[in-house]
Symmetry: C2
Subunit: 138 residues, 2 copies
């Protein structure tokens, strides 16, 4: 379990003031062993249950955006009415379980190298995302 100073430093080093709201969200998102996939609504519910003092929904949005901008979170491409975020910002891919509507990590080794042969003049590749949609087998 990290103590707050880790997150305070992390925030300060990216030019974000370490407010109590941000520290709580940091603890929730980053003080864990495994990758965490979430929507804003999901995150907001956890925060509501975990703390008495409420964090405004606007702040949750602001904070997630700030963390995404700083590269601490990654937004995953799914056609959904909501945005999905991932605390694992390394290059990796996902299963999307269409029944549970949740993401599951895929290691790079489970996918293999993706080699895009087409080149568009004047354009550079920013990211390559593989989404494998899965569903119950019956």
């Amino acid at each position: 379990m990290n103590n707050n100073s880790v997150f305070i430093n992390k925030l300060r080093s990216s030019g974000l003031r370490p407010t109590k709201q941000r520290i709580k969200i940091c603890k929730l998102l980053f003080d864990r062993k495994n990758t965490f996939h979430f929507t804003i609504n999901h995150l907001n519910n956890i925060l509501k249950n975990k703390y008495v003092e409420k964090i405004s929904l606007a702040t949750v949005y602001n904070t997630v955006h700030a963390f995404k901008k700083m590269g601490y979170l990654k937004e995953i491409s799914i056609n959904s009415d909501k945005s999905y975020y991932d605390t694992n910002v390394t290059n990796h891919h996902h299963f999307f379980d269409e029944n549970k509507r949740e993401l599951i990590d895929l290691d790079d080794k489970d996918v293999g190298k993706i080699n895009i042969k087409k080149v568009l003049p004047g354009k550079k590749i920013n990211s390559i995302e593989v989404l494998v949609k899965i569903a119950n087998n019956n």
Copy 2:
């Protein structure tokens, strides 16, 4: 240029009554050589310009949903505030141009075979989608 009877048959054969709205939308979507990528808003604007008699936005939504359900359209996974559709329903992948916010087809041969090595018990793979985000090179 296909004549309407092609689309009337196509609609009838999928249990959809060939209304004048659906026929117009069919002509716009499927009477073309190349793949067509669009959002509902985009499609609606084209319809407004092309025909005097207006088609209600609700009908455009209904029709696109019906065509998707019948497998005539494919929805593409992008994290966007809008949904993107593709008239090319074969297995293929996409570039997404983050400046123009538009899709560009990638042939299977431009991507190569994707082989997912991880298997989840009780789950089957429905689709594998590769999205390559690109941006201006400067």
